[in-house]
Amino acid sequence: MILELKNIEKSFGEKQVLRDVSLKAEGGKAFGLLGRNGAGKTTSIRILMNVFPANSGEVLFDGKPINYNKVQIGYLPEERGLYPKKPIVDQLVYFAELKGMRHNDAVKAVDDWLERLGMIEYRNKRLDTLSKGNQQKIQLITALAHDPHIVILDEPFSGLDPVNAMLLKDVVKEQIAKGKIVLFSSHQMAYIEEFCDSIAIINAGKVVLQGDLRDIKRNYVRDRLVVSTEMPEKIKADFGNACSEAENGSLVIQLASAADKQRVMKRLVEEYDIDEVKVFEPSLNDIFVEYAGNRE
């Protein structure tokens, strides 16, 4: 399964929200959609889900325009919300039925998921009697109960305690293993790094970076070294302005060019007491800040 957004343009009134956005996500892999607040992530997701049409461009599923009657999408919106005053099982079954499930199948799927997430005891309770984290688990069921082809999770980990986060991780991994297209949108880079094989960064309505996360990291200019040492003062003194201290106490040495890498490493190991020296690989956080930070 391949899901593609091609050359999507969208404006609300005078304001252009998406400019020539193209994205590609594959089944069996998780895709991370990153961007600052207001960059156009939710708009992209809504166009993908046919909440409103794009001004131009198309949404393709396996190369053909997507047929929303056949391709099922599960969505965990960032703005969480269900009916606070209604019994949990009633609304979960209702949403599963709206997605096309028959009543009995919907009841069974909902009960299975409640069991799986340890929520079966709350089955007939009103939603607003639950804690925020538990409400979030209920919300997750609305995204998964109808066994969709595409799972879209907007900030899935916010508000979850570590145990529930672990439970969610297992669920997400299982969905990926089933070959589904899993689309993540999050500001928590650690989770994206853990799950997503490929990412796209949207900034001010444009895709500024897209591709395989490992490739992106590897293609980064390898012109910085990270050094763990017992004698930082001496190295700092010798390297002058090229050397700076990182937050965790290790030193970062900026090379004049990536070609110097080998030579400088050798010199460091020979001349100083070095615990570890490696080429600096940016974290997703660094990449995000660089691409989404202050570009317009």
Binding site: M49, P77, G81, L98
Partner: protein
């Protein structure tokens, strides 16, 4: 279509499982039962007539200088004012006034000539009709005296004065006396149900928006199914409630029919012609739809539940104006005036205006067909439009958007 059925079921269950909805309906049925069974209760506790009789009547003083006619005046006034103990006196006017302010008498008629008098009363009630009766009484006395003065015997004069006119009314169209009450009740029911349920639809949509359940709904269904599902569900709930109320009223009436026997008003209410009930149903459903769609659309544009009350005001005003045009026309007796004729073709006013004209006057069949045709077309148009507003409105958070920006956004989709 499948989705529409699911939405309808879910929304309808929402109403029927709502404790307030059920509670209000049950309470209303009990209230109706209490009214309809009232004559039976009244029989169990018969009113004590003897105490009424011994209770002192209010005193009416009649001051006249013509004491020779005191007996006749006493008799005529006593007949005209059965609720008063009439005392004829010839005391000074100041004494009469004093009797009233001290509470010994309630009112007084001080005759200043054969055809003139002053009426004294402590506090003049809004409903005080005494002067009209006094005018009539004095006129009769004056005419009697005149006739007797011209040589007629008292009996002859009395006979002339008490002659009765016999008449008979045959209405070739509708009888407004007969149908006024049930038309009034039906128009009022229409008014109440549309206003109440319209607000409920608006609140329902707005609460889905504020609880963010909307986020899932718009990604799971199309707005037309959503809007029509909601509105039709609330219409069914409204019909159910009306049926419960009117149905229980009819059942209780028939249980107590013999007790109510003589009451013309109650009888006319329960003798509604069947064709009128069918018109009531048609106009109720169409009128309900057109307003409920508008209320739903408005609900979708509000971002907070608190905003709903102000947002729906324009629609509520429109509806109240329609209601008053109809009610005033009904009260004036001329339901075919120009305003009513115009209103019976405007979709927002025609449910009440046309219905009232059909009930209380004679309307040509093609007028009814045109009115209902315009209404059906408008319902579909307003329904589709409101679904579009809904789709645009529900995703707009923050401040309530301006009407112009909504129209622009809807135009573009």
């Amino acid at each position: 279509m499948k989705q529409f059925a699911k939405i309808l079921k879910f929304e309808l269950a929402g109403y029927l499982k709502n404790k307030i909805f059920v509670g209000v309906t049950v309470f209303a049925v009990i209230a109706i039962a209490a009214v309809m069974f009232f004559p039976r209760f009244a029989q169990i506790f018969p009113s004590d007539d003897t105490t009424d009789a011994t209770q002192a009547l209010s005193v009416m003083l009649v001051k006249t200088d013509r004491l020779e006619q005191a007996d006749m005046i006493d008799q005529i006034f006593s007949t005209a004012f059965t609720g008063y103990e009439v005392r004829v006196t010839s005391e000074e006017t100041d004494w009469v006034k004093n009797e009233i302010t001290s509470g010994n008498a309630e009112c007084a008629v001080v005759m200043t000539g054969p055809t003139s008098y002053t009426y004294y009363v402590n506090n003049l009630s809004m409903y005080d009709m005494n002067t009209e009766i006094i005018n009539e009484v004095l006129l009769n006395i004056y005419r009697m005296n005149a006739m007797i003065g011209n040589g007629m015997s008292a009996e002859e004069a009395e006979q002339i004065m008490s002659v009765q006119i016999e008449s008979e009314v045959t209405s070739l169209g509708k009888d407004q006396m007969q149908n006024f009450f049930y038309t009034y009740i039906m128009v009022f029911a229409l008014y109440m149900v549309i206003l109440l349920y319209g607000q409920m639809v608006a609140t329902n949509v707005a609460s889905e928006k504020s609880s963010r359940a909307m986020e899932l709904l718009v990604t799971s269904t199309n707005p037309i199914s959503m809007m029509f599902g909601k509105v039709i569900a609330s219409c069914l709930a409204g019909l159910f409630q009306l049926l419960a109320l009117f149905g229980s009223a009819v059942v209780f009436y028939h249980l107590n029919k013999s007790e109510w026997g003589g009451n013309m008003m109650i009888q006319s209410i329960f003798n509604i012609p069947v064709d009128l009930l069918i018109f009531m149903l048609v106009f109720f459903i169409l009128g309900f739809f057109i307003y409920a769609f508008l209320y739903g659309a408005i609900g979708s544009t509000a971002s907070k539940l608190e905003d709903i009350n102000t947002s729906v005001l324009p629609i509520t005003f429109l509806f109240i104006i329609a209601f008053f045009v109809v009610i005033f026309s009904m009260a004036s007796g001329d339901v075919d005036n120009m305003a009513m004729k115009v209103c019976s073709y405007i979709p927002f006013t025609s449910p009440m205006a046309m219905f009232t004209r059909i009930a209380m006057s004679t309307v040509a069949w093609y007028e009814i067909v045109i009115s209902i045709g315009i209404l059906i077309g408008s319902v579909i148009g307003v329904g589709v439009l409101s679904a579009k507003i809904y789709r645009v409105g529900v995703l707009l958070y923050g401040t309530t958007p301006k009407i112009s920006s909504i129209i622009k956004a809807v135009w573009k989709t």
